[in-house]
């Protein structure tokens, strides 16, 4: 069946009430019965919930074949937990047919790729699927298609009972003996634990893994002791160098700076740019640099930002310290500056992944977002964006909060170079739709800016401000005139991954990649 972004979704995937994507607010107002975990009562006081090892915690957690386990990705490429836990389950307990649900999976998890190839891990649900895991998925090594969800789509799926987690293993920078856990105050800090919070509330069993046991009570806690079954203390929960960079620095690349400036000029030209406005940006070179140019506009017009959402880096923390930002609402931290800032500034507060972006909730923070600045691997002339499949068709990215913030923000700006190497970024049809074009308002490239024709209001504002813009078709033609039109990728029939829209419908499918055949 063809869905609202023109993608053909195989009928066999539309079983058990699964639907195709019908538009960005098609499910607004729909009723949802929230799922609830099956928990063990802890009526009788105990001294603590400590386990000597991951293995001991697993012994208490009824591990079995076909079980679903989950992890969070606040420790990014420095994460040790997912690999350690899966190894114990597979090697010590002989668990097979393992289902892994994570907020993201990447380069820290090559071991999981081995288990996928061996047929031990049979199902993956995640936002990011990078590194060797992405390769394994794209080469058809999973029994069932992987499910790729946005940051908002994941807690929605948990709430709706579509993703039910048997045991979640949540790394935390600190915990007390009862499981009050936090992303700060330890030896390996990640800052916000926002991604872990829904799992602590919706999984049947919750195991905290930390390397810094602190005195009870560890408050304020991100994860509450009332949700935690067991606490494991390990030597190290992560590699600090790969958890967060020291400080994400502004790019010096003139091309990226020019794009950042042009994006900031667009922001300042729209009516939402007034006192109390809200803003979020990605951490990529040009996106991050928008902060710098935005500061100039804010000072010039004497405007202050009400709140910033994130995905937080030092850049926005510095703006808050200069008195230009009211609050930072934080679901994850990209650098050490942001982590320390969260720990020390009362106007910088943590939010859960569900509070951030869950469309199945009664209203998440993204619903109040004015501006979102994002990047793209590809964007087509219908403004559809791909941030998941690479130019070779292999899964190597993450929608993250992209589809959520694009759908809800008043103005979603994509900033990307027109071409990367030999690949046109602005193209006729994206390989995979991960954010529907109806959610994307402005495209800023190094060769010019294009506005979604549906946003006649934005076009008028840019014209009034003297900001030049061109059609997205002319940008696509320019891209093809520089690097040529790529031959289409070659696919097998087998669907290896489903890209779920944030409302749970099917936005697109990714098929198994076929070795390229030069005919």
């Amino acid at each position: 069946m063809i869905n609202a972004v023109g993608r053909d979704i195989p009928d066999y995937l539309l079983a058990d009430g699964k639907e195709v994507y019908q538009g960005r607010f098609a499910k607004d107002g729909q009723l949802v019965k929230r799922d609830s975990p099956t928990c063990v009562m802890h009526e009788k006081p105990v001294a603590d919930k400590l386990c000597a090892s991951i293995r001991e915690a697993c012994e208490h957690c009824d591990v079995h074949d076909g079980m679903t386990i989950s992890f969070h990705s606040e420790f990014r490429n420095g994460d040790y937990t997912a690999s350690q836990v899966v190894k114990v389950l597979v090697e010590d307990f002989g668990v097979r047919d393992l289902h892994v649900a994570a907020t993201s999976l990447g380069d820290a998890h090559d071991l999981l790729a081995d288990y996928i190839e061996q047929g031990i891990i049979t199902h993956i649900e995640s936002s990011g699927v990078r590194g060797r895991i992405g390769e394994a998925i794209s080469h058809g090594k999973l029994k069932e298609p992987a499910i790729i969800r946005s940051h908002g789509g994941r807690p929605r799926a948990m709430m709706a009972g579509e993703l039910h987690v048997d045991v979640t293993f949540l790394a935390a920078s600190t915990s007390d003996k009862a499981g009050n856990a936090s992303g700060v105050g330890g030896k390996n800090n990640c800052g916000s634990l926002g991604f872990a919070i829904p799992d602590s509330q919706y999984a049947d069993k919750v195991v905290i893994i930390t390397d810094t046991l602190v005195d009870f009570p560890n408050v304020p806690a991100s994860i509450k002791c009332e949700d935690v079954d067991y606490v494991v203390v390990v030597d190290e929960i992560g590699d600090p160098k790969r958890i967060a960079s020291k400080e994400a620095r502004f790019t010096q690349d003139p091309r990226e700076l020019m794009m950042a400036k042009n994006a900031a000029d667009v922001i300042a030209a729209l009516p939402y740019f007034k006192n109390g406005f809200s803003f979020q940006t990605g951490v990529g070179g040009p996106s991050l640099a928008v902060n710098r140019f935005l500061e100039d506009h804010m000072r010039e017009k004497n405007i202050k930002m009400g709140f910033a959402l994130g995905g937080v880096s030092g850049a926005i923390c510095n703006l808050l310290d200069k008195g230009l930002v009211g609050k930072i609402i934080d679901v994850q931290d990209f650098d050490q500056t942001a982590i320390n800032h969260l720990a020390n500034n009362p106007n910088h507060v943590e939010m859960s992944q569900s509070e951030y972006a869950n469309p199945g909730s009664k209203g998440s923070f993204v619903n109040y977002l004015d501006y979102m600045v994002l990047s793209a691997l590809e964007i087509d002339t219908k403004f559809n964006v791909n941030v998941v499949t690479g130019s070779d068709g292999v899964v190597r990215g993450a929608p993250g909060g992209h589809p959520d913030t694009a759908a809800t923000s008043k103005c979603c700006i994509i900033v990307t170079p027109l071409v990367r190497g030999r690949m046109p970024v602005v193209c006729k049809d994206v390989t995979t739709v991960t954010t529907p074009g109806e959610c994307v308002d402005v495209l800023v490239t190094d060769y010019g800016t294009a506005v979604n024709p549906a946003r006649t209001d934005i076009i008028e504002c840019l014209d009034a401000a003297g900001i030049p813009h061109v059609s997205i078709e002319s940008l696509q033609e320019k891209a093809y005139s520089i690097v040529g039109e790529p031959d289409p990728l070659q696919w097998e029939d087998k669907v290896v991954a489903i890209v779920e829209a944030r409302d749970g419908t099917i936005l697109d499918v990714i098929r198994q990649i076929k070795p390229y055949d030069f005919e």
Partner: protein, 306 residues
């Protein structure tokens, strides 16, 4: 060869607020240097290119000139000095590829201009390019060059203007960059007089310290007030401020409009001198008013209907 040339015929009198230097040998830089909105780019065959890479740089220059659509951005080539063995081959490549103009490095005399002109003309004939198409400009880098500025600027009809080159000039004067520009005051002034007398453009040197934003702005303010037509840049981030400073202000534009509007009526009524916006004006002001409106249009800051 001439059929390879894709660029339109160069114009001597065009907007040159910014001329951005880039190494002709760096494909990543030159492939789309026009995206930054600079008025002219200067593809460098001289100092930026190592001696054993001159051929490679010419090769990349030729293909850039003939395959990349630089649109309205002027493309000038800085050739090697006349005291080297490279400049004649540089000229042949520039002409064959259809460069808009050639920047003569370390120019000190009218003879040097004529020497390059002869080589350019020979190359134009060799490659079947319209004779006179290729423009010239002189980089004045020494006290002698400054002293001979007028003769240099009038040495050829191809001359679009002259530019002072601060690095070499300051060395030969035994001075450093000063915050108020005093070390180049005399040279800049003398070159401006010569260029205006010759009816060609006058362009300032690049500001080398990319991190000194304040010093950069001070220098731009200075040379804009002195009457330069533009300034060399070495990084795209220097472009925006120069374009802002070299464009007429809205106040200047409004005053120019008032002069232009009133001019016809007054002259029909036989009045020579009269008052506009509280300032006395007479016929020479009309010409200046027209120049400001024309410049404002070229800079994209004119929104009126004249």
């Amino acid at each position: 060869m001439a059929d390879k040339i894709t660029r339109p015929r160069p114009k001597k009198d065009r907007l040159r607020r910014t001329m951005m230097f880039m190494n002709a040998q760096r494909p990543g830089l030159i492939k789309d240097a026009y995206i930054y909105g600079v008025d002219s780019i200067i593809l460098d065959l001289e100092d930026a290119v190592a001696v054993n890479q001159k051929d490679a740089a010419r090769f990349s220059l030729y293909h850039a000139l003939t395959t990349i659509d630089y649109g309205d951005t002027e493309v000038i080539v800085r050739i090697n000095g006349l005291d080297t063995e490279y400049w004649q081959e540089d000229v042949r490549v520039c002409v064959a590829g259809g460069a808009d103009g050639i920047r003569i490095a370390k120019c000190e005399s009218a003879d040097m201009v004529r020497q390059v002109e002869a080589a350019v003309e020979a190359a134009e004939r060799e490659f079947g390019v319209e004779v006179g198409r290729t423009l010239l400009m002189a980089a004045l880098e020494s006290p002698l060059g400054i002293m001979n500025a007028y003769e240099i600027c009038t040495a050829s009809d191809r001359m679009l203007g002259c530019a002072i080159s601060g690095g070499d000039f300051r060395q030969s004067m035994h001075v450093q960059i000063e915050p108020d520009g005093i070390e180049m005051q005399a040279a800049r002034s003398q070159m401006l007089l010569a260029a205006r007398a010759a009816g060609v453009q006058c362009l300032d040197t690049m500001f080398p310290n990319l991190d000194d934003e304040e010093g950069f702005r001070r220098e731009v303010d200075l040379v804009a007030r002195m009457g330069f037509d533009g300034k060399s840049v070495i990084n795209p981030k220097q472009i925006a401020y120069i374009h802002e400073k070299f464009a007429p202000t809205q106040k200047q534009i409004a005053h120019a409009e008032n002069i232009a509007r009133s001019c016809r009526a007054q002259s029909e009524a036989g009045i020579g001198v009269y008052v506009v916006d509280g300032k006395m004006v007479d016929p020479p002001f009309y010409k200046e008013a027209e120049r400001i409106i024309e410049l404002a249009k070229k800079c994209g800051v004119y929104h009126g209907d004249l």
